[in-house]
Symmetry: C2
Subunit: 343 residues, 2 copies
């Protein structure tokens, strides 16, 4: 930081008052005479004085700053969560700052609590259930962090963590998605999903099996594939299904982990000469901006990410210790259609 940065002492001296008075003016306290206030404000203006949040945070033990940590930004829906959280925080007089996942767990998978060092007023953590960040390290990190600041979790939260959280209810979502597809006549429905958490209600595969059972459809193991949430992985996953089966056994509908994966499925389908939705129906999840602009436009699940971000801030600040479920809705577009009649 440059040398000349003015402090509260500089302002006090120049305005001919004590630092306590400057502090009162800066914090907008009422009990300052109009005359003094104006004098001090004039000096503040002229020197472009901005009090140090560091000093303020130390002495008041509040930073009026929240943190949010997102696993990766390449998935646009995290941007939505951030936007929602940011607006809600601001409207309540808080500032919010985003920290990379490495502030919690470093690339080698070690606990890395730089986040804790910031003494924030609270932090929202979006957890994605992947082989690396489930398990011990995550849990230990969170426990340690909790002794420094309140934490609210978003996503697929491990059972053992009884924190305030907003959880994705993936089982129910997938189950209802299966219903939606069966109403269109589909019976050969594949799931290209992720590895979600350790509790049934968060697991896509659990909801998938329930959905099949609801409609008395058999479970065909080659229709259920796990993959990561990128287009590349999605493309590979569908390739694997299609290349491993005779066309007569190809699924007529696929539920994708998320919209990015769905984009990969589009490419795989094209490669295999399948037209969407005539030969193959595809359903995404997240409703990212691009989803509406794919061709055909992607039918997907809107996870209401902005609202989610707002609610997380709300939950963090009200201090209640509860779990909530994230809201969601199915967005019908063009990528799901009636089952092909050819067979």
């Amino acid at each position: 930081m440059p040398e000349g940065t003015p402090t509260i002492y500089d302002i006090a001296r120049e305005a001919g008052v004590s630092i306590a008075t400057v502090s009162r003016v800066v914090r907008g306290e009422e009990n300052v005479s109009k005359k003094t206030r104006e004098k001090v404000q004039a000096v503040i203006q002229s020197r472009n004085f901005m009090p140090s949040s560091l000093a303020r945070g130390m002495s008041s033990r509040r930073s009026y700053t929240l943190g949010i940590v997102l696993p990766r930004l390449t998935n646009p829906n995290y941007a939505e969560i951030f936007t929602g959280a940011s607006e809600e925080a601001r409207s309540r007089g808080y500032h919010i700052s985003m920290f990379p996942w490495q502030s919690l767990i470093d690339p080698q998978g070690n606990q890395a609590l730089t986040l804790a060092s910031w003494r924030l007023d609270g932090v929202i953590i979006c957890v994605e259930y992947t082989p690396e960040n489930q398990g011990e390290t995550l849990i230990r990190s969170l426990e340690a962090l909790r002794s420094y600041m309140p934490v609210v979790l978003i996503g697929c939260v491990p059972q053992c963590l009884q924190y305030p959280a907003i959880t994705y209810h993936m089982a129910e979502i997938v189950r209802q998605s299966v219903s939606y597809l069966t109403e269109l006549g589909h019976e050969k429905i594949a799931l290209i999903g992720g590895m979600e958490a350790d509790q049934d209600e968060s697991r896509r595969d659990v909801g998938y099996l329930e959905g099949l059972a609801d409609h008395k459809l058999p479970f065909i193991s080659s229709y259920r594939v796990f993959c990561r949430g990128t287009p590349e992985e999605g493309e590979k996953a569908l390739d694997a299904i299609l290349d491993g089966l005779m066309p007569a056994y190809w699924p007529t509908a696929v539920l994708a982990l998320n919209d990015l994966v769905a984009m990969g499925l589009y490419r795989s389908a094209k490669k295999h000469g399948l037209s969407i939705p005539n030969d193959l129906s595809i359903m995404g999840c997240d409703n990212i901006v691009s989803a509406a602009y794919l061709s055909p436009a992607l039918t997907t699940i809107d996870m209401c990410q902005q609202a989610l971000g707002k609610r997380a801030v709300d939950l963090l600040l009200c201090g209640e210790d509860m779990r909530q479920r994230a809201e969601w809705k199915l967005v019908e577009r063009e990528s799901c259609g009636p089952v092909p009649q050819r067979l």
Copy 2:
């Protein structure tokens, strides 16, 4: 912050040493006896002690934290910049945290320097040239901020700001894009651009006119439209061009402000019964992840955003006062083809 948070005093007492010694161990100083070090480290471990960045920043006058402010996260390429900057910062022992645009300028367009209060070791600011954030407020904010911390700018930087910066050379990019399209035989080329900065080299429209002149093509004013960087705006912009002209005068190629706008153009084209690239070639800018998964895959300009983020950190930390140009490259995919021969 919870009450029980341990401080350096707690550790010192428990380990039977002075706080200076604890500080030395925490900071990894050499001159501590092995025995003392181990004793202190054991206590640190057991208490999960994490020193306060606030206190540390105050006393050392360094935070080892950088900031980055992005105009909005809905454009995925900002996520790329952040990712690149984040990696580079980490490899140099710095932490980086993202601040929303409101930390600089509030929604009412006032200077809002909460950013300055954080006494960061430096900040990267991605500036987008829009009617709201050009002009006085931005410039005053930046000037004030600069007295608190080093600043590096990315993007379309107003002429009058002689800061270290990495600038987009949009004029040259558009000029060469026009060339690329003329090589495919196009003569009726439209530009759906933005309002970039006040200097020629940053202006798409300047490069557009140069490109047309290079190839002795006439400038047709209805082919040049300004719009914001969203799909909706892009769709409207092309609608306006097509609806305002007889089909015989429709452009055969369009340069879009960015990939999101290009997605909107896809939809407008479809609505007007135009097939891409047979009837209309479209070129984007940014090379966001989705670009490769549109149908047809989008030909675009890769702005090398991750590399850009890395370079910005580099520039910030080396402290040199220079302007650099951002690198870029044309990515040929399927959305640009030979001019239609029908006419």
